[in-house]
């Protein structure tokens, strides 16, 4: 069994540990949580990338890779994530658990040391970030921002959210935009980095076989250079209660063979903080979250209108985003059919197998979190960003109690707020 603890190491600097012997690896992450904004998103996203290039001890990639290989091929990846209107930047790392080292070496301590070294002891030139590293990582980040267009499925949902939340922080992308990244200099990035270190809420995560007290000791030592600040910021999330009077419709044309239709709904203010959250989670699953859902079974399978059609929930922001792949001339039919399926949920037209099947899938997914270190870390980062402490098993227990009536009641609060359609040239 695994035990979860959450403790404050320093003011605004927290450590969560999951004590378990299930895995071959230990999982560590170090995350700075900061309010998402268009002005700072690009620079914030760039920081872990530049930090990952070198430290004062291991000045370049070769030295860092050598150090990781010595630790049995550990991996430390720069991470940029978005949870509601919180931008989460930092590193996630996976190392061989001490139990499997061939010569009984201790891996945790040097691994935690290396992780914190990346955050706190960057490689510098003239007191700021290296101009070479900054320029290169700027170019890479801009390439990544541009490359978002390559996967049209993800691109369409992202564009939908952008248009829908044009005047909200949520509309900003986790990677920022090209212009603001291009404007970064080694000096301005250094300032942003200092600001983040001083003001961001810090979340450290560990999952593995080591005792929580030992982990706390190792990490408190590794993080002792972090500036002390009693007032680190806890980011919030703005939730709109209603959709606009008419849905915002956006159409784009590209050279593609398959069209993408995305629909965005507001949940009428329902989020993960409400009592009804499990019902909302179930509602999205019944509507389009699983292979048993109405969108999958009817729009895709029965009517063959879409190659895929699914719905996801932004639980902090109170959004439901539907994504589908369609033939260009099916726009109106697909759109009507997706909305009809939602109407059926609103009317409570949910068969037993739909309700119970969705429930089993969601509960299965909750339990599966416990079997995967990466997913567990994702789950807890989401909980931390939302300020929630509920464990997967507790959420599963609440899902057991959701009724058909509650699902329908929640569905009735969904309002269409935006439509995005990507079509081919000449379509």
């Amino acid at each position: 069994m695994s035990q979860v603890t959450h403790r404050e190491l320093f003011p605004g600097v927290w450590l969560r540990t999951v004590h378990t012997n299930k895995f071959k690896s230990s999982y560590l992450s170090l995350t700075l949580l900061t309010p998402l904004s268009r002005e700072t998103a690009g620079a914030n996203a760039l920081i872990p990338e530049v930090l990952r290039q070198g430290t004062s001890v291991h000045p370049d990639m070769e030295a860092l890779s050598a150090a990781l290989d010595e630790l049995y091929g550990g991996a430390i990846e720069p991470m940029v994530r978005k949870r509601g209107e919180t931008q989460c930047v930092g590193f996630a790392a996976s190392f061989l658990d001490d139990a499997y080292a061939l010569k009984g070496e201790n891996i945790l301590e040097p691994a935690a040391g290396l992780l914190c070294e990346l955050l706190l002891k960057p490689y510098t030139e003239k007191g700021v970030f290296s101009s070479e590293y900054t320029a290169r990582e700027k170019a890479n980040l801009i390439d990544r921002i541009r490359a978002q267009i390559n996967d049209k499925r993800i691109y369409a949902t992202r564009r939908l959210a952008q248009e829908m939340c044009k005047y909200e922080a949520f509309g900003a992308d986790k990677l920022g935009d090209e212009e603001s990244v291009a404007a970064v200099t080694p000096e301005s990035l250094w300032e942003r980095y200092q600001e983040l270190l001083r003001t961001a809420r810090v979340e450290v995560y560990y999952s593995g076989s080591a005792e929580p007290d030992q982990v706390a000791e190792v990490l408190a030592r590794a993080l002792d250079r972090l500036p002390v600040n009693e007032d680190r910021i806890d980011p919030g999330c703005d939730v709109r209660m209603t959709a606009g009077p008419e849905p915002i419709v956006t159409e784009e044309v590209m050279d593609v063979s398959q069209g993408k239709l995305a629909l965005g709904f507001r949940t009428g203010g329902l989020t993960c903080w409400e009592e009804e959250y499990p019902a909302l989670y179930m509602c999205v699953a019944v509507f389009g979250g699983t292979t048993l859902s109405k969108l999958f079974m009817n729009v895709r399978e029965k009517l063959s209108l879409c190659y895929y059609a699914s719905a996801t929930l932004e639980k902090m922001k109170g959004l439901v985003l539907v994504s589908s792949g369609i033939e260009f001339d099916k726009y109106q039919t697909a759109r009507d059919e997706i909305l009809d399926q939602l109407e059926a949920v609103k009317r409570g037209e949910i068969e037993d197998w739909e309700l119970e099947g969705s429930r089993r899938i969601l509960i299965g997914a909750c339990m599966a979190i416990l079997d995967d270190q990466g997913r567990q870390e994702e789950f807890w980062l989401g909980q931390t960003a939302a300020g929630l402490e509920e464990e997967p098993k507790e959420l599963a227990a609440r899902l057991e109690r959701v009724t058909r009536k509650q699902v329908a009641a929640v569905a009735q609060r969904l309002e269409l707020d935006a439509i995005y359609f990507l079509k081919g040239k000449g379509a």
Partner: protein, 428 residues
Amino acid sequence: MERREFAMVGETMYHEKMENGLNVFVFPKPDFQKGYAFFATNYGGMDMRFCLDGEWHNTPAGVAHYLEHKMFDTQEGNALQDLAANGASPNAFTSNTITGYYFDSAEKFEDNLRILLSFVSVPWFTKESVDKERGIIGQEIGMIEDNPDWKCFMNLMAALYKHHPIRVSVAGSVESIAQITPETLYACHKAFYDPANMTLCVAGPVDPERICEVAREILPRQAGPIAAKDYGEKEEPRAAQSLIEERMEVSAPIFHLGWKGEAPVGGEARLRQELVGELALEVLLGNSSPLYAKMYREGLINQGFGYGYEGDAGYAFFAASGESQDPEAVREAVAGEAARIGREGVDKSLWERVKKGAYGNRVRGLNSFEHLCVGQAQAFFSGYDFLDFAGLYDSITKKEAEELIASWVTPERAALSVVRAKEEGRRD
């Protein structure tokens, strides 16, 4: 059941070959919530030409994949929904070499296993449902053909190989799948979905004996005949074509660079070639290699750079891929580094480090039941056990990697595939 301990990596594997020829492998994991079951046949996208009962069949590209889609249909309805309704997450995939069906579930594991074994072993196709699937698969083909990375990789295969079916897309094309009928599907099912041509691999909080009992209850008692496969004559060592280019909607040029190797023989030698191949790539152009650092520093490659070894019946290759403004320069840089290694050999401390790192990565990979079970199924079809790597690692020498680089990474064996952005106003 036969029990094998892999103490170094903390794993235990149970194995039984049943009366009907099915090989069952179980990895008990009492601490986990979910169990995972993988039921696979040694039949994939490249097995288009085969002989059954003395008769040769030439089937259209994409049959194995089409069959995978249609297997979920049952006389009563659809197994996908039955499994999902039981809280399982089912799915399937078709690779070049195998087709596998799987689910994981925390609840009703044995019930779900019964459903899995049953729908995969009992075919049920109607003309209507087979015709209807053509639209869905056609959409899927359209979607992957829009994916520049996939396109670039397939082009590389076409450049490396003259006729080996690895050149052909697993899903086939809209034209090739137009020829598929229920009769085609029944014939291919009969040829390859016999228990003797299949394996069941399970990991999770399960009792190995119970897994065999369930399999015995559901599957046919007798082993049937298995088709013989044909991939055409042996490929020449040289790449069929050295450069292949295409234009698509991409933000920056993407490339797949490959070197054609010698197809592996079966058994432990195949695993050894894979391990040596992976280590050779690590020292040549891997994340810890001097070349990687140099190319990254010069902006020739970015974080999207990836690489790997692949090898199975009749083919093996190294491939490296990523985004680059100058893919030709990447090809030249790797050729230069291979020549340098040929002269000077691989640095000893780099070799030791990389080996340690690769070992740790393999062990960490065992966290995933999917990785473990799919790996064991593929390994079994190739004649070894997936976890054999742990014992083999120590014996692999630097010289083996150097020799592999010297013989494979040569200009004649290399091919470069590039997808560039479309130019505005350009007429193709």
